[in-house]
Amino acid sequence: MSEPLVPPGPGVPPEIQQEPPATVASRLAVWEQAGGIATPLFTALLAFMIGGLVVLATGHNPIQAYWDILKGAGLDWLAHPTHTDVADTSAYNFSQTLLQTSTLVLTGLAVAFAFRCGLFNIGGNGQYLVGLYCANWVGVSFVNMTRPAHILLGIGAATLAGAVWAAIAGFLKAAVGAHEVITTIMLNWIAYWMGNYIFHQGGPLQGPQNIPLNIPISGDVAHSARLPVFWGDADLQGLHIGFFIAIGCLVLFWLILNRTTLGYEVRAVGFNPDAAAYAGIKVRTNYVRAMAISGAFAGLAGGMDMLGYLYKFGTIDVQATTIGFLGIAVALLGRNTAVGVGLAALLFGGLLYGTTHGLQSGTIDPSLAGHLTEIIQGLVVLFVGADVIILYIWQGRKKLKRERRETDDAGQVPV
């Protein structure tokens, strides 16, 4: 990490003593060292424990509350997975958890891909929103298309919109060095108010009503644009084929990063932009490209949600959506790898559904538990950000091991 390579001393020239600036790559290297599934697990466990303390302090039973959340997420269904009928509560809850997981996989990938290029894409929410808008526009218009074409067009438009929205930040980074965190935050809010404009009373895409409403509300996505549902009932928010798209994207993410030249360049820039430039990699092009691919994942998430189960604005308060922000926690907890993002998305998907709609409990109020998710999410991000603690622990252990090995070696009698 930022440990100086040469110990400071009188004979060492000052330029070597200066520590290199902390880069995302060096942090990633820490994760690589800290390794395995142990650290994310430890992080998540710690976050859940502190969340439990909050629950305890406010006079509820934390163990009972977490058990109820687990049931609310439908994870008890895994005990009897043959009951696939969604009339069964646990089966229905589990299908809903997977529905949230699909979205979170994609918003998580959106953050993770940019991270691998050394960029912090905090704008997943904005990219998700423009995806929603475009999918809604395509789904409401073009009603005479055949179903596969309509779906493809809707998903494609959403993906493209997300890619373009993120590429603005990538372009500004490449062209004038504007920090991507600032630009993506601004783009998030521009996307938010743009949606308010488009779907508000007098806006170009407000849905057809008898009376114009003074809220953002859209038209219904035509049936030809709706994604096929394979588990449950489409009217009851069944699990749509977007789930498989999300799984496919996990594979795609891994393939792009580890098996293509593009991925190699992206990772090289992420590890050290200067070294990458020295090796002839176009750093600026890669910034734009990585952001566009990131945005495409988030835009796809928006398109899938709109065509998969939301169908319109106003059915739930899309304006208040934070699923794009949750992607940050998913990516960080999943260590920006495909498998990790998948698992972290499942955890947060379960938490998201289990603490709100799925929760049927006398122990803890669902509106209370919903905020517990936010607290846990915050703690996870906080602890993951503090990789240095884990590094210390890890290095300490390694040192101990090495010392032990050395003493073992010394103790052996030479033959």
Partner: protein, 401 residues
Amino acid sequence: MSSYATIDRVVRTKVFTSRSLGVLGICLGVVAFLVALPPIETRTELWPFLFGILALLLGVFAFTRGEKRVGGAAAVLGIVGGVMGALAIQSSSAKLDQVFTASLIASMLVFATPLTFAAIGGIFSERSGVVNIGLEGMMLMGAFWGIWGADKTGSWVGGLVIAMVSGGLLALVHAFFAINLRADQIVGGTAVNFLALGITGYFFVQLYHGENVPIGVSQIPDVNLAKSSNHGFFAASFGHLNLMIWLAMLLVVVAWIVLFKTPIGLRIRACGEHPRAADTVGINVYGVRYGAVVLSGVLAALGGAYLTVGYLNTYNENVTAGRGFIALAAVIFGNWRPFGAFGAALLFGLSTAIAIRLSVYSANASTLFQALPYVLTLIAVAGVIGRTVPPAAVGRPYKKQ
């Protein structure tokens, strides 16, 4: 080519330098918006567009001749002024005299005040070298615990104190992770925002069942400089402002003096520009950064508390609704300087005030005014209007040797 030569010759004469043409463009950009307002109140969109395009052309002209700051500003103002002027006309024909009144100034100050508090806090934190994305969360903490404190202690002073403590505590978490553990400051700030959303939401449900903040909680008083019978310009704009608004203006001056005229300010800025050098001359970098970050939390919380205890006198879930991010934008737009940030906060406050007044007449056009701060900041960081220069060591954790 000869036509270019002619233009160049005209430009080379003293009066029409590219700079003066750029300044003219800036003026025209402002005029493009002003023609839509009461004294003139043109009824067609033609005039804003015309002036806007003229300003844009002059701006591009000046920009390409090396006057990047002036030219860029003129181009941006041309577009923004033209579009906003046209929108104002479209959205509220014949109602504009009700939108642009003297009380708009009061309204602008109301919306600028939370931003000012948080932005000044952000300046202290970032000048000391710690990025503070968590301003939003710290504001939210101040907003909730402020109203809770005012409710429980029965006095707005108690509310403000508790708000400051809550914001300071959250900032302490950020400071500990950013300074001692050298965690990524942006990740930490994001975490702080989530945490604040969760904590305030959780306790809002736990303590008030998500809705029932008592009515008539002690409120921060107004400063009445004019009699209530007086309806003049001064009375309507500055006569009945809240105490916190005046405090915010005072804070800007104090912050400027502290940052640029005192040894403390020099130390803070040194930690943000070159922490190693600061350490070498004996400045306690960790201490200074801790102080600055906690101060930023306290100030942001005051801004949040003004929203609930001073202005709304109640609390809704996530009441700050992105104001912390506008404050962050004001810090950047104001180039990490107190008066610059205050100017930006006024501009952003004005656009919010216009948006809220216009929403009665045209719901969707008003939302564009809500987006204006973000658009302007995006343009500012893109380097079109001058260059924003952050402190050199901002975002870099410092490790003692």
